[in-house]
């Protein structure tokens, strides 16, 4: 009898062994944050006075993501816009498109973040220890958790159509725009940019489009996935969509992807 019990015990242990693997419930669905903004993005940008400016009030702004680093043309940064304007958030992380989707509402608690300008482009970031920059990347997870909140997903923002040169103004910096029927008048290379290879460094592509008499430089990173793709030939007319930026006196446009270029 004893033996039979033993055999049963051993058989039970063996059977038991087939059926035991750790399981985990899947995490709850993401709950979008719901916070009322206290300020508009234009109001926030206006708080920068003189130079590097730490936001000292309880400022909450909200906007939708309009940039994407999926194609590598943006790096460690994204842009949000509301009806009053757009701003660059220097978050400092990479592969942002996986977490901050185009069209998604983002709420930023700006208190103790720092407004800075580079070549006339105002951005929100962390204080910088390098004097040549007015602000730096937010970078750290804890700080991001405290300041940048993800709201609901939504459709991608429809770019503002710019059909006349008078529409190209500083108030539209940091927003998504389409240059309608712009003409490529100048370029520094036949591809959109030049990738690094071997010992050769990556080179920005600079393709100047014109609307009326105003020029907008389409500036493309050598780290963009589409860098090696051929750019249109000179005098091509195209609709070009991207984030309107500025470097000193030059208006620039940064493409999210080549989908933003529709040759006429």
């Amino acid at each position: 009898m004893k033996k039979i019990y033993n055999i049963i015990l051993i058989a039970a242990l063996t059977l038991f062994s087939a059926s035991c693997t750790k399981t985990f419930d899947e995490p709850d669905e993401f709950v979008p944050v719901n916070m009322e903004p206290t300020h508009t993005i234009a109001q926030l940008k206006a708080m920068r006075i003189g130079g590097s400016t730490e936001v000292l009030e309880n400022v909450i702004v909200s906007g939708k993501v309009v940039s994407s680093d999926a194609e590598g043309n943006f790096y460690r940064t994204f842009f949000i816009q509301d009806e009053t304007g757009g701003i660059e958030i220097k978050i400092g992380k990479t592969n942002l498109q996986s977490y901050y989707k185009e069209g998604q509402t983002i709420v930023v608690k700006a208190r103790h973040l720092t407004l800075g300008s580079y070549g006339g482009m105002v951005s929100l970031g962390e204080r910088s220890l390098e004097s040549k920059y007015e602000n730096g990347y937010i970078d750290t997870d804890l700080r991001i958790n405290e300041t940048i909140f993800r709201g609901s997903l939504g459709p991608k923002v429809t770019p503002l159509e710019i059909t006349d040169q008078s529409q190209i103004t500083d108030s539209r910096l940091g927003t998504l725009v389409t240059l309608k029927n712009a003409k490529l008048i100048k370029r520094n290379m036949a591809t959109w940019a030049q990738k690094a290879s071997g010992t050769v460094e990556a080179v920005y592509g600079e393709h100047t489009f014109q609307i009326g008499t105003k020029s907008v430089l389409v500036r493309t990173s050598g780290y963009a996935k589409f860098a090696s793709e051929p750019a249109p030939s000179l005098n091509t007319i195209a609709d070009v969509t991207g984030i309107l930026t500025k470097y000193n006196t030059t208006y620039q446009l940064v493409l999210n992807s080549l989908d933003g270029v529709v040759v006429k």
Binding site: L13, T14, G136, T140, D141, S228
Partner: protein, 904 residues
């Protein structure tokens, strides 16, 4: 803890009269060891017949006691290194021949698992397999102590890699065919079933083959070899797992010639020191054996250890200091309120063995055996596409990355100390990313890397007693191994699919054929359980023949042994890799190596007490499959200049056995030349898997070993083991670096200047002293102290190349090349146990406490990170390189192991 075997197992072959005429009342017989049935000389045979009558066995193991009064008596046979045997004999009025009395080797029985399967996840080694710490059971006075006591620091015997130690199972060589690794993980959890072990030390030859230069162990795991009886035990512990249950029954050999044995166990839970590490392990074993008649014996043995274990990753001292513990494990994160480990080993590789023994007469013993190993062996890891590195201790997530910005550094620190999702893996975030990705394409997944072997092993062996003084052992072995290397998707983490392209190549080539993992099936959509990434077969075929000849006379012994064989292996790619379309699919060239071993030894014994012996060996062995391809995951390219590894080894030994004193003193000297090594790791600078292929690694291992056991008082003995060595690299090898996502060679045959650097990862000085007590009423207790020193960190070869010195000052260069030496450390352990006999029942417990002083700062290993940090000027030009912080493992603080057992 040691439990001296208290049981007696005897196999008395024939107890009936042989009917021959006898001049007087008496008994005679031959005492042999169970394995190999070799004569045991010098055994004491005592008959309690009112007065004690005794005899000592001769050179051939024979004995005779005459003029015994008629009656039934108890006969006790004792011999050094064997368990005593007790049997009842009926003395009649003639010389009764008891024929064989079989003795079982007295092996100290450890109550812990035979191999500690703690997995240490290192980025630098091939993580195909766990490298266990083997707890050797040996009759050797040194190994008996060292094999167990030094295991806490992962001591490597004589500084050799563990794969140099041969492991046989039921007579078959079982070391891994692809890496040489010890195969203990195949039978982990089957302690009872695999307890019957014989071992040889150092250069000694074994009964099962010529063996190497680092000893051998043979496990006798057939039904008749297992201790008869039923056993059940419960373990509660804090060092590896929480609970263990084990049940075993063994029939012993029945009158009808049958014997059977069954065993099963489970090990569950984590330990006191490292979160995320757990066991979810089972084991099963069944063996049946039939003695067909006096000449033929057949056994079939089947077993497996379905095991799931969460592993421990290492981290840098910065991280340990930041969170205040040297036991931080970066591999896990909270999900569903529970700890989920990303690096889980899951394997079940059953083994079937058929053994056949033919003993036509007492001169010849023939053995045939065949085994087959199959099943699955997986190891999970995170994989990601177009998403940030999810590992919490990625260097950019640490304060040191912001050393120029104390403000950010303090934010990092605070995040680590206040938020589990920063300090550990953030599973919720990965699910979130995947659920919201376009068209359900997961960006984070859990992959499972597989090394699924099919291993067929066959052997024929004959042991021939040529004369009373000489014995010949010959064998032929054949091995076919086909191993499937691939990875599958274990969990899509909330997404719906994955696309099988090379994310690393995509960065450089954007699109087209180059980014395809398998050009034969481009842009394949893969789902849970599907194979992706890489897929190839390793074919290894090996055959060898060997002999050993032993001669002994008048205290003088000599042996000569040799082995010759051939190893062929090749890679068969199952994917046509986009980057290497002509060099990845199908068979690689077939690599062929002739291997051989030559060994000889002399021994001289004086009066059975002193023995002086010496061995010498020369071995040429084939490189292992895993080291022979520059990037086995992607292509068929073979390492340049591949050649056999050449080992020359010699030792001289003195052993003493005198009035309970046991001593062995050994000096050894070994050179190993032309070793190859492949180090594969994820290089986040080139954001790809990078491979260092090294050739021409030479080393010298020289040292002394001392084992000592001295009786101090009744039941009390003092024991010591001491190992002192000098293990150094003796050449400047070459390293070639390639990356999986490019056909570019990054470093070509770069010289690694590390001659005279130390062989890492094991203390070169190790000492253990202790007291061991056994009372007559089955109480036993022990206390011991270990001391370790001269232990060095595993090295990144590139730090020692000219390439890494460019732009460095003399001082910086010295720092770059320096090898870290760990601080010496002492560890105190103790154990206690007792067993009771109640009728035929035996019940008992044993408790072991390790590291009683709770020292939590003893480094047991680690490695230099394989990457180089490029220091750039403001224009992005690389000025020079510096090191990343090294990673370490630490010995656990105090742990206990409590075993309760019941036998009947």
């Amino acid at each position: 803890m040691k439990i001296r075997a208290t049981f007696i197992f005897t196999a008395l072959m024939l107890l009936f009269a042989c009917g021959m005429y006898a001049q007087s009342n008496g008994i005679k017989g031959k005492v042999v060891n169970r394995e190999g049935r070799l004569p045991v000389k010098g055994a004491k045979v005592v008959l309690m017949a009112g007065t004690e009558m005794s005899a000592v066995t001769s050179e051939t193991g024979e004995f005779q006691i005459t003029d015994i009064p008629l009656g039934t008596y108890s006969l006790v046979v004792t011999a050094s290194d064997f368990q005593p045997a007790r049997l009842n004999v009926k003395v009649e009025n003639y010389m009764k021949d008891l024929n064989f009395i079989t003795l079982v080797a007295a092996v100290t029985v450890k109550n812990q698992d035979a191999a500690m399967m703690a997995d240490f996840d290192t980025e630098s080694s091939s993580d195909a397999q766990a490298i266990p710490v083997i707890l050797t059971s040996s009759k050797d006075v040194y190994e008996n102590i060292a094999g167990y006591k030094f295991s806490d620091i992962r001591f490597k015997n004589r500084g050799y890699e563990s794969e140099t130690s041969a492991v046989y199972l039921n007579g078959l060589y079982f070391n891994d065919a692809l890496t040489g690794y010890s195969p203990w993980s195949l039978w982990t959890g089957l302690n009872e079933a695999t307890r019957n072990q014989e071992s040889s030390t150092g250069l000694d030859i074994s009964d099962y083959g010529v063996s190497g230069f680092n000893g051998s162990t043979n496990i006798n795991a057939t039904a008749s070899q297992m201790r008869k009886g039923n056993r059940f035990s419960v373990v509660n512990a804090s060092g590896q797992y929480r609970f263990r249950l084990m049940a075993t029954i063994a029939s012993g050999e029945k009158d009808n010639g049958w014997s059977y044995a069954l065993s099963a166990s489970t090990r569950m839970g984590g330990n006191d020191w490292v979160n995320g590490v757990y066991y979810n392990a089972f084991a099963w074993f069944a063996s049946v054996e039939k003695r067909l008649n006096e000449k033929h014996r057949v056994a079939l043995t089947l077993f497996g250890s379905p095991t799931e274990r969460g592993t421990q990753g290492s981290s840098t001292q910065e991280v340990y200091d930041m969170i205040g513990s040297n036991y931080y494990n970066p591999n896990w994160g909270y999900q569903d309120g529970k700890i989920r480990n990303s690096r889980v080993r899951k394997n079940h590789e059953p083994v079937a063995i058929l053994n056949y023994t033919f003993t036509p007469n007492d001169k010849i013993n023939l053995k045939a055996a065949v085994s087959y190993r199959f099943g699955k062996n997986g190891y999970s890891a995170l994989d990601w596409y177009d998403a940030p590195d999810p590992r919490p201790d990625y260097y950019r997530n640490l304060p040191s990355y912001y050393e120029d910005d104390p403000y950010k550094a303090s934010y990092i620190r605070e995040g680590w100390l206040t938020d589990w999702n920063i300090r550990q893996i953030n599973w919720d975030k990965m699910y979130d990313v995947n659920r919201n990705s376009e068209d359900g394409r997961s960006q984070y997944i859990l992959e499972e890397r597989h090394t699924d072997q099919q291993d067929l092993n066959a052997k024929l062996q004959a042991a021939i007693n040529l004369s009373a003084a000489s014995k010949l052992n010959v064998g032929a072995e054949l091995r076919f191994n086909k191993t499937d290397y691939y990875k599958t998707i274990k969990d899509l983490l909330g997404g719906e699919h994955w696309i099988d392209i090379d994310k690393f190549a995509e960065r450089d080539f954007a699109s087209g054929d180059a980014i395809q993992n398998d050009l034969n099936h481009p842009n394949r959509v893969v789902k849970k359980g599907d194979r992706y990434g890489y897929s190839y077969l390793a074919h290894v075929q090996n055959y060898k023949g060997w002999f050993s000849y032993k001669f002994s006379k008048h205290g003088f012994e000599a042996y000569l042994a040799g082995e010759a064989g051939n190893t062929t292996f090749w890679r068969e790619g199952l994917y046509r890799k986009g980057l290497f379309p002509d060099n990845s699919y199908g068979n690689s060239e077939k690599l062929n190596f002739f291997t051989y071993t030559a060994k000889g030894g002399l021994a001289y014994s004086i009066g059975g007490m002193h023995r002086i012996y010496a061995n010498v060996a020369y071995i040429e062995s084939a490189p292992f499959f895993q080291e022979s391809f520059v990037s086995p995951r992607t292509r068929n390219s073979v390492v340049d200049g591949l050649t056999t590894e050449k080992t020359m080894s010699a030792d001289i030994n003195y052993s003493l056995r005198l009035q309970g004193v046991k001593l062995r003193l050994t000096g050894f000297y070994t050179t190993i030349k032309d070793q190859t090594n492949l180090i594969s790791f994820y290089d986040d600078i080139s954001r790809s898997f990078s491979n260092f292929s090294m050739t021409g690694i030479d080393q010298v291992n020289a040292g002394v070993e001392l084992g000592l056991s001295v009786p101090v008082a009744t039941g009390l003995s003092a024991e010591a083991a001491f190992s002192y060595g000098k293990y150094v690299y003796s050449s400047n090898p070459y390293v070639t670096q390639t990356v999986d996502n490019s056909n570019e060679v990054i470093l070509q045959n770069e010289r690694v200047y590390w001659e005279d650097y130390k062989i890492p990862s094991s203390p070169q000085t190790a000492l253990n002293v202790g007291l061991d007590y056994k009372s007559p009423n089955s109480i036993y207790a022990g206390v011991d102290m270990s001391y370790y020193d001269q232990m060095y960190l595993d090295m990144n070869p590139v730090y020692r190349t000219d390439f890494a010195q460019v732009g460095l000052s003399a001082e910086e260069s010295a720092a770059m090349r320096r090898q870290e030496k760990f601080k010496g450390a002492a560890v105190l352990n103790a154990n206690i146990g007792k067993s009771w006999y109640i009728g035929s029942y035996n019940i008992g417990f044993s408790l072991e406490i390790k590291n009683i002083l709770n020292n939590q700062s003893i480094k047991t290993g680690g490695y230099e990170q394989m990457r180089l940090k490029a220091n750039e000027d403001s224009n992005g030009t690389i000025l020079n390189y510096s090191r990343f912080d090294s990673k370490y493992f630490y010995m656990f603080g105090t742990t206990y192991y409590l075993n309760l057992y019941f036998r009947f």
